[in-house]
């Protein structure tokens, strides 16, 4: 029997773990504007501060949720305003390598290589995220176990169902133990049981991570989020707890639950509804 590092002292806590944070908010945007395509500002003057916890990003289709998440993932550059993530200013021509190592990102259209196995794909993503080589196998195993795919880890992605592929997407997002986790519509394609398990995972992650989940399902927000960010036409409409959101709606507003009524109340303003959609 051999043990790899026999004469090596490992300290349980690294210097980076106990260093004080140099920022008040994990994500802080001031007057953020992001242009998409030619002229349209998909994010138009956003002021937002997000700390540790699970933040649900709600909004109608075309509100700019995906653009905002892409900007936070640093794959789109802000056009105007300032964006600070983990105390680092985002924008300009920088590559943000150190910042990106601490971000996990699941895009709305999660593209993958069909011929890879789950483990190979997550390993490949871990390599792309510059996880130290010696830590990759353990980190991959941990991520795959957390999304409940340990028993399917050596199957090819093309053999998996849509919900399982989505979970692979979540696994690759958390493989680098991110401080900021950005999930764009992660619950699409999950069945009700998986959705419940996913909410538990979110709550677990939210204890020490800034998680931003974009969704169009109000009930996901109620169950898993500590904080709701309501976003419409590129602007922040509301930020508060799910209870605050529920309190905003009255019986005269559309919706089947207090949260849905609050949601439609805030989006439509005091007047009558703007139409069926």
């Amino acid at each position: 029997m051999t043990i790899g590092k026999e004469h090596h002292m490992t300290s349980a806590v690294s210097a980076a773990d106990i260093a004080p944070t140099a920022y008040a908010w994990e994500i802080q945007a001031t007057g953020l504007k992001v242009r998409v395509g030619g002229k349209r500002m998909a994010v138009d003057g956003l002021d937002l501060s997000l700390g540790t916890g699970v933040h649900g990003l709600l909004g109608p289709n075309g509100a700019g949720k995906t653009t905002l998440i892409r900007t936070l993932a640093t794959v789109l550059r802000p056009t105007e305003g300032t964006l600070e993530m983990l105390g680092e200013s985002v924008g300009g021509m920088g590559e943000h390598r150190a910042l990106r190592r601490r971000i996990g990102y699941l895009p709305q259209e999660f593209g993958y290589y069909k011929r890879f196995t789950v483990r190979e794909f997550v390993e490949y993503m871990a390599w792309l995220k510059e996880v130290p080589k010696a830590e990759i196998p353990a980190a991959v195993q941990r991520a795959v176990e957390r999304v409940g795919l340990a028993d399917r880890a050596d199957e090819k992605l093309k053999a998996l169902s849509g919900g399982m592929v989505r979970r692979v997407g979540i696994a690759q997002a958390i493989v680098n133990d991110p401080t900021i986790l950005l999930l764009d519509e992660p619950t699409v394609g999950l069945d009700p049981a998986q959705r419940l398990r996913f909410r538990e995972l979110l709550q677990e992650l939210g204890t020490d991570t800034c998680v931003l989940v974009s969704t169009h399902l109000v009930e996901d927000v109620a169950a898993a989020c500590t904080d709701v960010v309501l976003f419409a036409e590129g602007r922040l409409v509301f930020q508060g707890t799910p209870d605050d959101l529920a309190a905003a709606g009255g019986p005269e507003h559309m919706g089947d639950s207090p949260l849905e009524r609050g949601y439609s109340a805030l989006l439509q303003g005091p007047g009558p509804g703007r139409g069926a959609w």
């Binding site: 029997m1 550059r77 593209g111 993958y112 510059e130």
Partner: protein
């Protein structure tokens, strides 16, 4: 790092059951044995030599375990090939590289058969655009399903661009080398335009997207060099030895632009 090992007295005392050791010594030696192979070996030697009762107990346990261990299949070694290869090229690039190599072979065959094109070497004519197609394939939004994920990772940007480009050139250049050698074309005559085109594709790619840049440059090449050459059956000036300094200049400019704008490869824009 030097480590203090357990003394002979403690090891032997532990082998005899630890009754003549202090409790904290037993505790310390157990913790040390868990992490230290040297002392475990010393312990097993001490047990074998001095404590026959424990040695026979260990043998009994082994004889019971061995038949069961023998029938346990060892874990199959996972296939490591794709993981290593994918650091250099996306899986979707493979068919494109195969196509590029087969075009080279086809041009070579036509050259050797000397059909139709007269004095002009087809290898020379196609050499500059072949790697461009491979580079485009590695950055195409349509061909690489994981493009958005790839753009968001810390390793994205210039290092990954150069890695993928190097893997394309690594496949294309040897194929062209064989072609050039068999048709007797000077190496610099095709290698410089080939590298210059690749660098220019990456340079423009930072602005308009690598795939778009590749398509535009390939079209320009076809219109300005390939078509007139085939029409007149004379090697265009651009491909004669006199054009070499110009290609060198383009290569240097392309590399300069790529380095100056290296931040542009880590956003979604480069994947168009």
């Amino acid at each position: 790092m030097s480590v203090e090992h357990a003394s002979r007295r403690i090891i032997e005392g532990y082998a005899r059951g630890g009754t003549d050791l202090a409790a904290d010594e037993v505790w310390a030696v157990e913790a040390h044995l868990e992490a230290c192979r040297v002392c475990r070996d010393r312990l097993s030697a001490a047990v074998g030599a001095e404590v026959p009762a424990v040695a026979s107990l260990v043998d009994t346990v082994w004889s019971g375990l061995e038949p069961r261990l023998a029938v346990t299949a060892t874990m199959p070694r996972g296939r490591r090939r794709p993981a290593r290869l994918s650091r250099w090229m996306t899986p979707t690039m493979v068919p494109w590289l195969a196509m590029v190599v087969s075009v080279t072979l086809l041009a070579l065959l036509l050259d050797l058969g000397d059909t139709g094109s007269g004095e002009v070497s087809l290898v020379l004519l196609f050499a500059p655009v072949l790697p461009v197609l491979g580079v485009a394939a590695s950055w195409s939004r349509g061909l690489d399903p994981a493009y958005e994920l790839t753009a968001s990772v810390p390793r994205a940007g210039l290092p990954l661009v150069l890695r993928r480009t190097a893997s394309v050139l690594g496949v294309v250049v040897p194929a062209l080398l064989v072609g050039g050698w068999m048709t007797g074309v000077m190496v610099a005559q095709w290698l410089l335009p080939c590298l210059a085109f690749t660098a220019t594709t990456l340079a423009f790619g930072g602005v308009v997207g690598v795939t778009r840049a590749a398509v535009v440059l390939a079209a320009v090449w076809a219109a300005v060099v390939v078509a007139p050459t085939l029409a007149t059956s004379r090697t265009a000036f651009a491909l004669q030895t006199g054009g070499l300094p110009v290609w060198g200049l383009i290569l240097a400019l392309g590399i300069g632009v790529v380095i100056a704008r290296r931040g542009a490869y880590s956003v979604l824009g480069a994947h168009r």
